[in-house]
């Protein structure tokens, strides 16, 4: 019997390496110009890995709005630097606040877009990649399971809010205090069902003999190809270019 597996194009280790390089750069650098370079590199790679950016933007619309609000608040409460906008001697926006806000947005975008690269691999392949990087099996396994739980969780929260509204509760009309109360109540079923799911998962894993055999084999064999080496080479060159010109 032969099993036909869809061959993954690019080694997951390469993807992990790229994501690590890009996010390290995002944290190291404090400069709008260089951060936008890093962002464009990151987006270049995500597009190269065939991530559908349009769907992503639609999905993360809420998150982007939240980031935007945080940035505005952050900028307003920053009182260093030259004043750009002020009302009755109360400083609303300074140049440093503005710059910090923009840097924050860029950094978030870089981290989100680079993380998307990982989402193009299936979790099994990613797990194999983590293992080959000498990360302990339990840890790598946990990371992969955790990643799988995120979309389920967001789906569940969405469902809960639909169920509440169909009960005839207009969330928008509630006072803030009631709103918070409602959120705390509704998170209950989500938390309970998540704990339930993880319990079932662990029971079923155990029933199938998790960790019974010390060495684990995998149906996926990872091997570097020429394409992988080229990718690693290019990300190293790009990162060092940015690092050298930034710290010059």
């Amino acid at each position: 019997m032969s099993i036909v597996l869809k061959k993954e194009n690019i080694d997951p280790r390469v993807k992990i390496f790229i994501v690590m390089c890009i996010s390290t750069l995002a944290i190291l650098i404090n400069d709008i110009k260089f951060l936008s370079y890093v962002l464009s590199i990151s987006i270049l790679f995500t597009v190269g890995f065939k991530v559908n950016l349009y769907i992503v933007i639609k999905k993360f619309k809420r998150l982007f709005q939240m980031i935007f609000v945080i940035v505005i608040i952050q900028s307003i409460f920053n009182s260093e630097g030259a004043i750009l906008i002020s009302v009755f001697k109360i400083t609303l926006l300074t140049d440093i606040g503005l710059i910090k806000g923009i840097e924050y947005i860029l950094r978030m975008l870089i981290i989100i877009s680079s993380a998307l690269i990982l989402s193009t691999s299936s979790s099994v392949v990613l797990l194999q990649g983590l293992l080959k990087c000498k990360i302990p099996y339990e840890l790598a396994f946990m990371v992969c399971i955790g990643l799988r739980f995120i979309p389920i969780l967001s789906e569940e929260i969405k469902d809960t809010f639909i169920a509440i509204q169909i009960r005839g509760i207009d969330i928008r009309k509630l006072k803030l205090k009631k709103k918070l109360e409602l959120v705390s109540i509704t998170l209950m079923p989500v938390v309970i069902s998540t704990i339930d799911k993880s319990k079932k998962l662990s029971a079923s894993i155990e029933a199938r003999g998790f960790r019974k055999y010390l060495t684990r084999t995998s149906i996926y064999e990872l091997k570097f190809s020429l394409k992988d080496f080229i990718l690693i080479f290019s990300i190293i060159v790009l990162s060092s270019l940015i690092v050298f010109s930034y710290f010059k």
């Binding site: 169920a163 169909i166 109540i185 509704t186």
Partner: protein, 227 residues
């Protein structure tokens, strides 16, 4: 512009809907009366649950409209729909939020600012009607599936909805409780409340329905009125 006005309680016109890639409903038309017990049957994955969710506006169609009492659902708030239609989810766990059964029953009314006395009166009445008095102080997440279903159903009745949508209300009910549900639905039907029920229990469907619709791959393949 020609406006579609008819006396149907719910009407669905030229509806197109797909989850991601697989196209489920393609130019779907259906109308439902308020003074009728309608059942939807069909195999797993034929789109029954999806259809009812589209009716309530929980998911939006790619194209086409759904009207409830001649109002476009896409322009209505979900809570407005909820005040007209009572919806029982296929999985009752999705709609239970209270800690105990009593909490659960008073949950929506509390948030809508109804006074305690009225709430207590209504809850008492419902507890009796649904035979829930024994378990009224139980923790909801410890209830059995059938009990959860009964609690979920009873919360819907608190609002006296004009129309009911029930997604497989008989799954997990024992013989006795099914008989009770039958009597209850029959009474409601006689009170003039319209009901749309999804069910795989053909005997149950046969006993109650005025109209039976059969779905397959998002298409109506049978639509019969029973006498």
């Amino acid at each position: 512009m020609k406006k579609l006005v008819n006396d149907k309680f719910i009407s669905i016109s030229n509806l197109i809907f797909s989850y991601k890639k697989n196209n489920l409903f393609n130019n779907f038309n259906l109308s439902l009366d308020n003074n009728m017990f309608t059942s939807i049957i069909g195999e797993n994955g034929s789109g029954k649950t999806t259809l009812t969710k589209l009716i309530c506006g929980m998911i939006t169609p790619n194209f086409g409209n759904v009207f409830i009492e001649n109002r476009d659902v896409s322009k209505m708030n979900l809570s407005e729909v909820g005040n007209i239609i009572g919806y029982l989810f296929q999985n009752p766990e999705k709609q239970i939020f209270g800690e105990s059964v009593i909490d659960e029953l008073s949950f929506a009314m509390k948030f809508n600012g109804i006074s305690i006395d009225i709430i207590n009166g209504k809850v008492e009445h419902i507890l009796e009607k649904f035979d829930l008095e024994e378990i009224k102080d139980q923790k909801c997440h410890l209830l059995s599936h059938g009990e959860k279903q009964r609690v979920a159903l009873s919360t819907i009745f608190l609002k006296n909805p004009k129309y009911l949508i029930l997604d497989e209300p008989t799954t997990g009910l024992d013989v006795l409780r099914k008989e009770m549900l039958y009597k209850l639905l029959n009474n409601i039907k006689n009170d003039g409340v319209g009901i749309l029920m999804i069910s795989h229990d053909l005997e149950f469907v046969d006993k109650l329905s005025d109209r039976i619709i059969m779905l397959e791959n998002g298409r109506v393949i049978k639509d019969e009125y029973c006498s």
